[in-house]
Amino acid sequence: MALESEENQGDEMETTAAKNSLSDITAARLQKQPGNSALGVGLEARGVHAWFGEKHALSNVSLDFWPGTVTALIGPSGCGKSTFIRTLNRMHEFIPTAAMAGEVLLNGEDIYAPGVDVTKIRLKVGMVFQKPNPFPSMTIAENVLAGLKLAQLKVENKDDLLEECLERAGLWSEVKDRLNTHGGALSGGQQQRLCIARALAVRPQVLLMDEPCSALDPGSTLRIEETISQLSSTVTIVIVTHNMQQAARVSDYTAFFLSDGGPGQMIEVGSTNEIFSRPKDERTENYVTGRFG
């Protein structure tokens, strides 16, 4: 079941993540100091800046993501949330004019260090996009297993992996009879869960979700949110969302981003309860209470 190339590491990771998750969340919530990295952190951003050409889009963001938790990034459009999560799996550099500064540490090692294999990083830090984007030339089953082909990984039992990933994405019961039909016939919400299953198939340690529900109806959104809750015990999730209720429903931690016309900045981060009930910063309070944005 485990991927051959990362057999031991992957298993270890999962069990540790599962064990740590509860205690971490509790500890962090008790401490109310999510920024404290003493507990050991899977993914840490340290002083991240981002540019598009001359435009400084994101300024000095430091943020830790706890294993097995869901962190929501909220804030008005253009505040750099999406830009930020794209620096976490090196998708930022896909845009020709992009530049960045700072460090992103995955298991303690800088993913921007010279000589790092970018494809390995993206295997560990998966991504789900705003619009559902199943590969049009592939069937449902081929879509789920596409990552194995793309990254040239070997797996012992493809059928098990296929079922497991679709099950974890909450899609198995709906598609198990038509695995060899095209993904395009699915509804938008099903397509998005197919994309989640596809991202899970390469066993990422972290899953980045860039507004995964913004193109979906409320029913599908609810299904995705359930999926996120179920996944969060095994995968670290970072989700960008415009929907504050969604952030409140699914996340353990929330970070509020804002741009005052200049580069986007992270204004405040804390446990989701705290951010929504007792934000420290007035701007956060204005945003979460709906006074602007």
Partner: protein, 353 residues
């Protein structure tokens, strides 16, 4: 309090469809335009079919405008005139094509004979009666020339398009410009280039591969530009999804982008083939026009359909001219078959096997 009654489903109607009165009005406008045109031709020195068509065009649009204006005002009148203009434009665009097809059939079908597809011209001359000799050698030659040109140009063309849309290297701009400029190269230039670069210094004789090379030069820009347009339509999201799953760019392109663009790329290939299948100038210079079957593109004079047609017309007798038209007809049919095959292949769903 009312309850919902069960109403029988009404039959489907099209309330927006033209009523008989509307149809009568359209017919009236048409009739009026014809009468006005005839009257204009009668009282003015204008005469002939072309003059009639021109006057009719103006008269129809004006009457249509006036009637629509009276009925529904200025905006509707402009809309109606615009529709008339578009219809006229499409008619003008389609007419020559239909005219060509009809002419080729009318003049070519006399020359059709089963021996066309079973015999070559090695023991006959173009002035022999139809039914003696055939153009099998020319069909074989054209297929070989185009096939080899395709093998050379399709990979180069598609890789060029991939460079322009996927790799986006430093030379993207100049290469894009060159490809566009090359798609306007006259075929005789491609022919002369191969003539000067290969025939004179090296082979010093005609053969098939030289013709294929010249055709490939003409095909590459067509294939590259069409492929580029097709690849541009693939959403950026898919490329990102491929790379985000840990694929290298090459694997993402090969497994995601190219399969998604498959039917468009096949169309690009076919457009390239259609561009060169009837090319004559480079063929005349480079391949010779043997009347005997030749299966070897690398040596010996190679007959081809354009060459057959050109030789037959040059012979100038009624028999040879009928042969020429029959040759054109066969060439047209082959191109149509290629197009249809490509459409079928391109539209076939990948999942169906």
């Amino acid at each position: 309090m009312s309850t919902i009654e069960k109403v029988p489903t009404p039959p489907p109607r099209k309330p927006w469809a033209p009523t008989p009165i509307d149809r009568a009005k359209t017919a009236g406008i048409l009739a009026a335009a014809i009468i006005v045109s005839l009257a204009v031709l009668f009282v003015t020195p204008l005469s002939g079919k072309l003059a009639f068509a021109a006057v009719f065009f103006v008269a129809y649009l004006s009457i249509d405008f006036v009637v629509s204006f009276a009925k529904a005002g200025r905006a509707a009148a402009v809309d109606s005139v615009f529709r008339g203009l578009v219809t006229t434009a499409i008619a003008i665009a389609v007419m020559p094509i239909i005219s060509i097809l009809v002419t080729v059939w009318v003049r070519g079908h006399h020359g059709l004979h089963w021996t066309l597809f079973t015999k070559d011209m090695h023991s006959n001359s173009f002035t022999d009666p139809v039914g003696q000799g055939g153009l099998l050698h020319a069909i074989i030659g054209t297929f070989l020339l185009v096939f080899v040109a395709m093998i050379i140009s399709v990979p180069i063309g598609i890789l060029t398009a991939l460079y322009l849309t996927e790799v986006r290297g430093r030379f993207t701009r100049p290469i894009e410009f060159l490809v566009q400029a090359m798609s306007g190269v006259p075929s005789i230039v491609a022919g002369l280039f191969i003539y000067a670069a290969i025939l004179i210094p090296f082979t010093k004789t005609v053969n098939g591969i030289q013709g294929s090379l010249a055709l490939a030069i003409l095909m590459i820009p067509t294939v590259a530009r069409t492929s580029q347009e097709v690849l541009k339509l693939i959403p950026e999201d898919l490329r990102e999804a491929g790379v985000a799953l840990g694929g290298t760019q090459w694997r993402s392109v090969a497994l995601v982008v190219v399969p998604a663009a498959r039917s468009g790329l096949i169309t690009a290939m076919i457009l390239g083939v259609a561009r060169v299948a009837g090319e004559t100038a480079p063929i005349l210079l480079l391949t010779g026009g043997s009347g005997t079957k030749n299966y070897n593109v690398f040596s010996g004079s190679l007959g081809s359909l354009p060459n057959y047609v050109w030789q037959a017309f040059s012979a100038g007798t009624p028999e040879s001219i009928t042969r020429a038209w029959a040759g054109i007809l066969v060439l047209l049919v082959i191109v149509v078959i290629l197009f249809t095959a490509a459409r079928v292949l391109g539209n076939r769903k990948v999942g169906k096997k």
